[in-house]
Amino acid sequence: MEAILNKIRLTLPSANSFDFASGSAITKMFRSWILAGTGILVFLFMWHVAASNINTSLGQFPGPTQVWEQVGSLKADYQREKQRERDFMVRQQERNAERLAVDPDYDARIRPYTGRPTFVDQVQTSLLTVGFGFFIATIIAIPLGIICGLNSSIYSAINPLIQVFKPVSPLAWLPLVTMVVSALYVSDSEVFTKAFVTSAITVSLCSLWPTLINTTVGVTSVDKDLINVSRVIQLPAHLHVTKIVLPSAVPMIFTGMRMSLATGWMVLIAAEMLAQNPGLGKFIWDEFQNGSSDSLGRIMVAVIAIGLIGFALDKIMLLIQRKVSWDKTAVLR
């Protein structure tokens, strides 16, 4: 390990032109990359060995190579489906043109393609659902958290409800949400289907709590001196919130939002699986029911995709936090 590092140091041509600090920062970066790479390689190897020793009724448990093959196969599926869609559209246009040539009064229509959703479609649906659910949760949780943090009476009134509903699993909510949405929600929208709304609301119900609790704590822990400053200069309520409370609470609010988004993403997969709402969860369930020799490999692709997307979502939140936070020197992790 040390030898490799030294080699890299030696092969860095301009190493001497850097000052000490940035030079060591670069070696540090290399070091962490190499360590991360090693960790992944060791994991892949152990996975490979373990997988070849597990035999299920659907065949051998997929190792890294089989999963990689499935990535290719899913990609091919996607391209094939896209080609079909294009062909379908071309056929429609040709047919319409023919009929118009015969009968100029013919009402030509283009019908949307209704093929099987591909893996990419399912990922898009899931992202849209979690985004919408998280958005609803956030616009409820942050204002409510600020109110709870500012007013201890309201907090005392709401706190028991928070404590009771916080630990409830999404799967317990799901039947209720499904029934309520079917009863109350009517829409012909392509995007906001009933299934979509059901999943999104289930996500909201579960991802509300971390943001709400962290916002409350953030607001209550504003520096006492700053609150006294606000009292002495008699800041009106809206300025007190925007100038003093919110900037102080931003780090806590973001911690809460990141936890909420992570919870929401986890909840979504379970909800989609159980409710047969479109998305990654449904993809996994369909593959499981399908039970071909490729299924486990495809599910493993979905597992890794879920992990990578969750990781990416957290990174995006971190970037937003860095943009919004006043304290540019704070170390965010």
Partner: protein, 259 residues
């Protein structure tokens, strides 16, 4: 004769976990316009509590505070506070910190067009114009405290309340800021009440030194009038017999064992 600021029979009782604790009792104090008054006493004797009662941040449970003939019981910019730990908003620049206070206090009193000039004037008073666009974490502790003082002065308070303003500073910075405070006080002639536990600081700056007994039920033990010529110079006063006398009076009170 009616005086400018009067505390009459002020007492306060705190209720922590249903255990009553009487922190102050029978505090009587008269302050004239333009006076520089120091409150001195051991830690925990209730100096800050008195200041907070005058500021309106705490409510006295007995007696009351009268400023210019009117009782005060809530915070108001006419009693600006300079906090021990500067209490600047870390997300606002030096200029914006003062501006926030000025905008609020000027509202309805003076035209908005004067805000900028007044903020800059006050930063100039404490020699901080050069750093007006810096954030608090980019400047030193002494500079932050100057900005805190500028913010206090910018409200044109009837009484400027200072809670150990130099307590967290090193000796050299402290001496420098004391000199500036004396300069500002002599030019603006504002009424100042300052908490300190530095004997030299108290004697050097004050017209009156209020010495507090040890709590609970702390009260005013002695009142010392400091009749030294202004402007005062710390070097010249170092060997001054009157100065040394006042200094010893305070030291005897604090460490004499009777309190």
């Amino acid at each position: 004769m009616q005086c400018y600021l009067e505390l009459s029979n002020v007492g306060i009782e705190f209720n922590t976990n249903n255990v009553p604790f009487k922190a102050l009792s029978n505090v009587n104090l008269k302050v004239n316009k333009g006076d520089f008054v120091s409150l001195i006493g051991h830690s925990g004797c209730g100096k800050s509590t008195i200041l907070n009662i005058i500021a309106g941040l705490h409510q006295a449970t007995e007696g009351g505070v009268i400023l210019e003939g009117r009782q005060v019981d809530s915070p108001n910019p006419d009693r600006a506070v300079v906090f021990q730990n500067h209490a600047l908003l870390p997300w606002l620049t030096v200029y914006e910190n003062v501006e926030l206070a000025v905008k609020q206090v000027f509202k309805g009193r003076r035209p908005a067009s004067e805000v900028k000039g007044w903020v800059e004037h006050n930063l100039d008073l404490v020699s901080m114009t050069h750093a007006k666009d810096k954030l608090p974490h980019e400047i030193s502790g002494g500079m932050k405290q100057r900005v805190g003082i500028a913010r206090g002065l910018s409200m044109e308070p009837k009484v400027l309340l200072m809670d150990e303003p130099f307590g967290a500073l090193d000796a050299l910075t402290r001496a420098h800021l004391q000199d500036e405070l004396m300069r500002i006080h002599s030019s603006l002639n504002n009424t100042v009440i300052m908490i300190t536990h530095d004997v030299d600081e108290a004697v050097l700056l004050s017209d009156k030194i209020v010495m507090l007994t040890v709590g609970p039920e702390a009260s005013i033990g002695e009142l010392l009038e400091v009749n030294l010529e202004r402007p005062r110079d710390r070097l010249a006063l170092a060997d001054d017999t009157a100065y040394i006398g006042y200094r010893n009076d305070v030291l005897r009170f604090l460490y004499g064992g009777t309190h």
